[in-house]
Amino acid sequence: MTPKKLKNYSYYPGCSLHASGREYDISTRALFKALNIGLKEVPDWFCCGATPAHNVDELLSLSLCAKNLVLAEEVEGDLAVACAACFSRLKTTQHHLKVDDEKRAQVEKAIAGPATIAKPVKHILEILVRDLGLAKLEESVKKPLFGLKVACYYGCLLTRPPEVPELDDCEDPSIMEDLLRALGAEPVSWSHRMECCGANFTLSRPDVVLHLSDAILRSAQAAGADCVMVACPLCHGNLDIRQEAIENRSQEKYDLPIFYITQLAALAMGVDDDKLGFDSVIVDPRPMLMDKELI
């Protein structure tokens, strides 16, 4: 008999969290377990279409997301989303279908049924900072991340365009920093919190990604960060997987571990570091964490 959960959420992991961003999924589940929050995956969910779909076919993009929102109705609880891109697409769909009757009619025709858009779609950050609350979070911390200087990287889609994610101020957000402070870590003030990393050009034009992500890593390092915290598997991939290529290109040494928000949060909640997928990433954070006596 498992103890009664504080709250239950339905869960849309998204494609990346089952593959290149698996440690995001692993750490999310571990964190929720540690916080005694229920997380149940939406059965048969499929790709939200991400950037490529809306880039060339908005109707397809909206329809794919609308169908996923219908599938999510089968599971109890607000829909928790970890990937910033999936979150953005699902929220965008809800927004468009709410304000545009013509689009809604087209989408309902495409999915052959009513589009249900009432279920709140929530990013993990929102669940931690708003639903659970900073006080409760602080209370639950078992291993505070003292001395860890973190550059919070929001990327594009957590805050833009402001009417869609409704997560935080679009030019000066603080939700990640608030979370980190509750965990005992020290967010650094830096310039590239919301600059683009190059996103899905990672497949087609990696040169673009190297150019943009370089500026981000450079700024984080200049601000004295020990690491970067992200909320998006694509950002993670560009900053972590391509970090070596970026270093080769710019002749700089960054050596900045890239964490998912859930990895740091779970670590602070006392989750064992070998259960957070640190072995999956390219820039191994463990030496740095050991150095700071956090693991």
Binding site: A19, S20, H54, Q106, A110, C156, N200, S204, R205
Partner: protein
């Protein structure tokens, strides 16, 4: 094309195209005052021959052809910075989506083959598998783009870390996904959707 003399007249100003863009994007192009704030903050502007403000300018002049003749629209990263900061609520990110769709429909007169190929494979993947099959995405991209050695050294690293799965399960509800694709195609054939 980029620097060619522009004849302006009721005949050469293609308002049809502009109206389609405005309809698809839900955003006016005339509201734009050409302040250039979009281009100022665009992370991709250095990769474009027409920076974002010029794209809107060309739309104001009904010069869709000129836009589609270039590859700028494919370098937009959809970061939404332009839309967020526009002082006159021109939704440039949505306009870019609309332009790419119109280019896509016309079978890609605007050429940025790598980006287009990646988009195509990504969408094909959804139709075939339901969820993204990243391993296949990368492999087929390299194969079709002829850049076989792209990220050659990265692959094994990612596989060993479990980041790339060699085998991929298809969704159980693939028929429902396929139905969405085919219904949209049907609607477009009947002219019920743009």
């Amino acid at each position: 094309m980029k620097n060619k003399l522009m004849h302006l007249s009721n005949e050469t100003i293609n308002l049809d195209f502009v109206n389609k863009v405005e309809k698809l994007s839900g955003s006016s192009v005339r509201r734009c005052m050409q302040c250039g704030k979009c281009s100022a903050g665009c992370p991709m502007a250095t990769f474009m021959e027409h920076p974002p403000n010029r794209i809107v300018r060309l739309l104001q002049l009904g010069q869709g052809k000129r836009i589609l003749a270039g590859r700028s629209i494919w370098y937009c990263a959809s970061c939404e910075t332009c839309t967020t900061r526009c002082p006159n609520t021109v939704n440039l990110a949505a306009i870019m989506d609309a332009l790419r769709k119109l280019s896509w429909d016309a079978d890609g007169p605007s050429k940025e083959s790598y980006v287009q190929l990646a988009n195509r494979l990504f969408i094909e993947n959804i139709r075939t598998y339901g969820r993204q099959y990243e391993m296949r995405l990368g492999a087929v991209f390299n194969l079709r783009s002829g850049r076989l050695l792209k990220d050659f050294l990265l692959g094994p690293k990612l596989i060993s870390r479990g980041k790339l799965k060699v085998f991929h399960q298809k969704n159980r509800n693939l028929d429902e996904i396929e139905a969405i694709f085919s219904r949209i195609e049907e609607m477009r054939k009947k002219g019920e959707a743009l």
